[in-house]
C-alpha cells in the first residue's frame, strides 16, 4: 500500500509557506508576522540570536505549536491545526535542536519507524465516515502484520532496504544494528537526518545540525547537506549558529531577532547588514572575517 497523499505540488506553489505567522507564550511574542517560502531545490538559512524564535518557527511549521495568527501552508493546503504527524505525511520533516532519537532502538529501526509512516493510508477529511474508514483501515493493517501476509512481508523488506539505503547515504551503515544511544554524538546527529529522510520529505528542516561537531565534521556536513538537497530533490531550511556553515551553503538567509524578521537575503547581503551585525554577528565577526566580502 503506497502513499496516496491528497496534496500534490502544483507548478508554482511553494512546498512550504508561512504567511504572517505569529505566536506568543504568555506575554512573550516569540514570533511575529513571520513569512517564509521554500521551493524545491532551495537551501535557506534561518539565523538569529539565541531566543530569537528560530526553533519556535520550526515548531509552528511542523505543527508542534499552533500559530495564534497567520497560516502555514504545505503545497497550498492550509495546515493550521493539523497534528505534527499529519504535516509530516504531507512532506515536511525535521530534526531537533536537542537530539531526540529513539534511544533504545537500533539505528536501522530508528530509520524504519520513519519509513513506515509513509506506507499508511491517510485521509485528511474530517468527516465521520472518513474517520471510520480510516480507523478500520488502521486496524486491518495490524492484521496484516499479525498474519504476516506476503504483501506485508514484501513491504517490510522494502522498508529495510530503504532504511539501509538511507543509512549508507549518511555513512552510518557500520552502525546498522547499534542502539542509537550508543552512537557518538556526531553520528547521532546524522542518524537524525537519516530518520527525517525516511519520511520521504519534500522539505527538510534542520535545527542546528552542526552543534557539537568539530571543525572537520562541520566541513563534511556542509558537503552532505548540499548533496542531500540535490539527490533527494529537497527544499532545505537550516538553523545554525556556525556562520561558516550558514554562509557557506545557504543561498538565502532569514534573520530573526526577538521574533521579528530583521533581514533576509543572500549571505553577503545579510552579513553586511548593520542590524544583523548589531543584533547577532557582533563587530568581532566583522573583524575576523574581514567585513563584507
Amino acid at each position: 500500500m503506497s502513499a496516496s497523499v491528497t496534496v500534490l505540488p502544483t507548478a508554482n506553489a511553494p512546498l512550504l509557506r508561512a504567511d504572517g505567522v505569529s505566536i506568543q507564550f504568555g506575554g512573550l511574542k516569540a514570533l511575529t508576522d513571520f513569512h517564509l517560502s521554500i521551493q524545491q531545490g532551495d537551501l535557506q538559512g534561518l539565523i538569529g540570536p539565541n531566543g530569537a524564535g528560530k526553533s519556535t518557527a520550526f515548531n509552528v511549521l511542523t505543527g508542534v505549536y499552533q500559530p495564534s495568527q497567520g497560516d502555514v501552508r504545505v503545497c497550498d493546503t492550509k495546515v493550521n491545526g493539523r497534528k505534527p504527524h499529519q504535516i509530516n505525511l504531507l512532506g515536511v520533516a525535521r530534526t531537533f535542536q536537542n537530539i531526540r532519537l529513539f534511544r533504545a532502538l537500533t539505528a536501522l529501526d530508528n530509520v524504519k519507524v520513519a519509513c513506515r509512516a509513509q506506507t499508511a493510508l491517510h485521509q485528511f477529511d474530517t468527516g465521520l465516515v472518513a474517520k471510520l474508514k480510516n480507523a478500520s483501515h488502521n486496524y486491518a493493517d495490524w492484521w496484516r502484520a499479525l498474519l504476516l501476509t506476503p504483501g506485508f512481508q514484501r513491504e517490510e523488506r522494502r522498508l529495510t532496504e530503504q532504511a539501509e539505503h538511507l543509512l549508507s547515504v549518511m555513512g552510518l551503515s557500520h552502525r546498522r544494528d547499534e542502539e542509537a544511544r550508543n552512537l557518538p554524538y556526531g553520528e547521532q546527529r546524522r542518524l537524525e537526518i537519516a530518520r527525517a529522510l525516511g519520511t520521504q520529505p519534500r522539505v527538510l528542516l534542520l535545527d542546528e545540525p552542526a552543534a557539537g561537531m568539530n571543525t572537520r565534521e562541520k566541513a563534511d556536513l556542509m558537503v552532505l547537506i548540499r548533496k542531500l538537497r540535490d539527490d533527494f530533490k529537497l527544499g532545505v531550511l537550516v538553523i545554525e549558529h556556525d556562520m561558516k556553515l550558514v554562509m557557506g551553503i545557504c543561498e538565502q538567509i532569514t534573520v530573526l531577532d526577538h521574533g521579528e524578521t530583521i533581514a533576509r537575503g543572500a549571505p553577503a547581503q545579510v552579513r553586511s547588514d548593520r542590524k544583523v551585525i548589531e543584533a547577532y554577528l557582533g563587530d568581532s565577526y566583522l573583524e575576523s572575517h574581514g567585513g563584507a566580502a
Binding site: 533504545a104 524504519k112 512481508q153 529495510t160
Partner: protein
Amino acid sequence: MQTPALPLPESRPLVPPALRGVLPVLLAVPALVLFQWALSGSEFASYLLNVMGVNIILAVSLNIVNGMTGQFSIGHAGFMAVGAYIAGYASLQLKEVALSFLPVAASDQVLFTVALLLGGLAAAACGFLVGLPSLRLRGDYLAIVTLGFGEIIRVVVQNTDAFGRALGLSGIPQYASPSMVFFWVFLVVLAARRLAASSHGRSLWSIREDEVAAEAMGVDTTGYKVRAFVFSSFFAGIAGGLFAHFVPIINPGSFTFVRSMEIVVMVVLGGLGSTTGAVIAAIFLTLLPEGMRSLFGALGTEGSLAQRVDQIRMPIYGLLLVVLMLSRPQGLFGTREIWDVLPKWLSRKGGGRA
C-alpha cells in the same frame, strides 16, 4: 530491543511467504493435542497450567501497553473482569444450546470460542474507552485513570444482579482445558512477537522512546496508543474468559487492583518490552506460591508452625519481589528476548570455567 532482522532477499526462504503467516499455528495445533493427551489424568497439573496460561496471556498483553508503548496501565484486571463476566454469562446462557450439526464436545468448544470472543471484544471496547484519555494524559495520571476504570468495572459487576453480585457467577461450564488455554497463549505470544517485529511495533516502540519525535516522524501517536490499548485489552478479555471457564466461580474479589498489580509485577520482572521475559516471569510467579507450598509441605502436617506455613507464603512472596528487583533491576531480560540474552549468558559462564 533487537528485532531479528528479516531474511535478506538473496537467501531463498525455506518457507514460502504465503505459508509463513499460518505455519506456526499449523505446527502448534498437533503439539497442543499431544500436550493435552499427555496431561490427561493429572487434574492438578492441568489446573495449575490453566492458571499459568491465563497469567501469561495477561502479562504478555499488558506488556504491549506498558512495555512496548511505554504507557503505564495498572487496571488490567478490569479488562480481565469484563472478559470473564461477559464470556461466563454468555456460556451460562448457551449452556443448554448445542449445535445440531456437530458432536456435543465440538459444539461446546465452538460455543466456548464464541463466548471467549464476545468477552474479548467487550474488553477491547472498554480498552478503547480507556485508551481515549491517553490522548490527554501522561504517565502516572494515565495510570491512575486505568486503575480507576478497573475499580469502576468491579463496582459495576458487584452491583449487577445478572452477574451474581458479591457471590459471583457459578455453574459456568468448565470448557477450558490446558490445550485451549495454551492455544491462546500461543496466539498472544505469536501476535506480540509479530507485532513487535513489524512496523506497527516499531511505531509503538518509538512512542515509548520519544513521543514528540515519533509524532514528528509521522507516527499517529494517539491512534497507536489507543490501538495498543484495544489490542492489549482484547487479550486480557480472552484471558478473563478462559479464567471463567476453569475456575468454578468468578466473583468481583478476583479482579481487584491488587490483581492488576500482580500483572504489572510480572511485566516489570520479565523486563519491560520483553515478551519472553513476561512469559517466564508469569510462569515463575504462578509457580512460586505453589512451590513454597511443596517446600513447606515437607515440614509435615502437624504442629502449630506446620499449620501456619501457608500463611507465611504471602509475606515471603512480597519480600522475594524486593530481592528480585534489587538483583535484576532491568528485569529478567531488559527489553530483549530470551534468544538475545541466553547465548551471551551461556558463553560467559562457559568462558568463565574454561
